[in-house]
Symmetry: C2
Subunit: 134 residues, 2 copies
Amino acid sequence: MQELKGQRITTQRRLLLDLLLHSEGHLDADELYRLAKEREPRISLSTVYRSLRLFKELGLVEKRHFAEEHHHYEAKGDVEHHHLICLGCGKVIEFEHPLTATMKEDVSRQSGFDIVGAAVYMEGYCESCRRGRA
Amino acid sequence: MQELKGQRITTQRRLLLDLLLHSEGHLDADELYRLAKEREPRISLSTVYRSLRLFKELGLVEKRHFAEEHHHYEAKGDVEHHHLICLGCGKVIEFEHPLTATMKEDVSRQSGFDIVGAAVYMEGYCESCRRGRA
DNA sequence: TTTTGTGCAAAACCTTTGCAAGCTA
DNA sequence: TAGCTTGCAAAGGTTTTGCACAAAA
């Protein structure tokens, strides 16, 4: 665990990072806090928030803003992936798409920005929710 | 102003919608509240929140979750556009891109979703911020 | 031993809600 | 007039912060 460049490696940080890496993704602060308490009952919610901010600054996790609610955090994987959210049941599906790279280049060229990240959110209704609504 | 299908047209709602339509977009609730108070000093923040929720339900505005902060609201225009945010100065640039349509179709076909909306967020550093950092 | 991180409690925010009074249709 | 909408104040939920103690380097 060299990942915390310069920052101290504490029991709490190791535990939280571990939970983020091994979870299926999309944890919010409170869910992470509850999971962490199972293994480390004295951990505090402030520590969870402070660690998440640190991890984000170090580029280890990403902070997502899904449709309606609060923030979700997800450990950064190798491939950039995007999110499709069902407005009916809230299910989140991840996908990749080759065109995002092209889009990034185009936007970068047109705007003069140095683009460091791109996120695509799509929303709609999944098959079962659509059946329920029809 | 037929836009409020069935809902009552009040001074407050007319004012808020007007501000949203004529602003350069990306107002948050508090900014909108301050603008509205200049013209209607007795308006309350609750009314702003209630109206924003209503407008959103009617499809008149969109709620955006930019990089770090709280929600921003933007009147829905004719063309779907996306956002590029400068991590240095916070500037928000809007852009359109033809490939999003293709992407929507692909994702819809692969997932079986009926996709009703797509949003692309990119972040990076604009030219002047990049110069400052170099 | 020095510096950084933690837990706790309190504060700061943003957003929603209950209720009596006001306004729209 | 009947019912929806408002303003106010209070509550709710999430996130941040101050401080004394604990842990890491």
